[in-house]
Amino acid sequence: MIIWLNTSMKIAAILFTVLLTGCATVQSWIPSFWDDNQSAYITEVRLSVERIRCEDDQTVQVARLSEDLRRFQLYSEAKGTLQRDVLRVIEPMQLTVKEWRDRGQGSKTYCELKKKLLLQQGERASKVILGRW
């Protein structure tokens, strides 16, 4: 009886701690898991970056890239709150692309440097998104 009470009190204490710290904290400890669509979408993003030709019209190409990232974001948001970690990973890429999209046509060197940076960002993001369980 005493052992049962001790165990119950321990469980109650854990539950109480969880309630105090809040569900959001607990959720932030849980990683998102493997997802076929997210893996495909991030690969599409990388492909769009790789295909950018700086001598051509940049606005159309950047708009396509922005849409690819938006697709990833919408899908992940719809999937649920556990996807916050992957959304945080792609957010810097979205900021990099947003600035380019707002600017429109930039100089050729600017385009080449942006492309180089986005290739690096895309590689890191896809490595962690495809490396999940």
């Binding site: 990973v89 930039g106 100089s107 600017y110 942006k114 940076l117 690096q120 962690v128 999940r132 369980w133």
Partner: protein
Amino acid sequence: MLEQLQFLSTCGRPWAEQRAQFALEITGAVQRGEISESEYQALMADLINSDKLNAEADDMDIKNLLVSCVMIGAKLA
């Protein structure tokens, strides 16, 4: 600033070297007049954003490693 970037570009830490080399590249481009001042500012801001991406990705890597350990531990038990 240039001296510090040049030092960092050969400091022996790959992550710092990569960023310093990229910053040097951007600085060189603005000095040669290949990019405008606003393009320079935007590219430097992107470089800072890349650090955030890497930090988040490193965090996810650690969580994945923890999940791996738990999975392996559960199979061994």
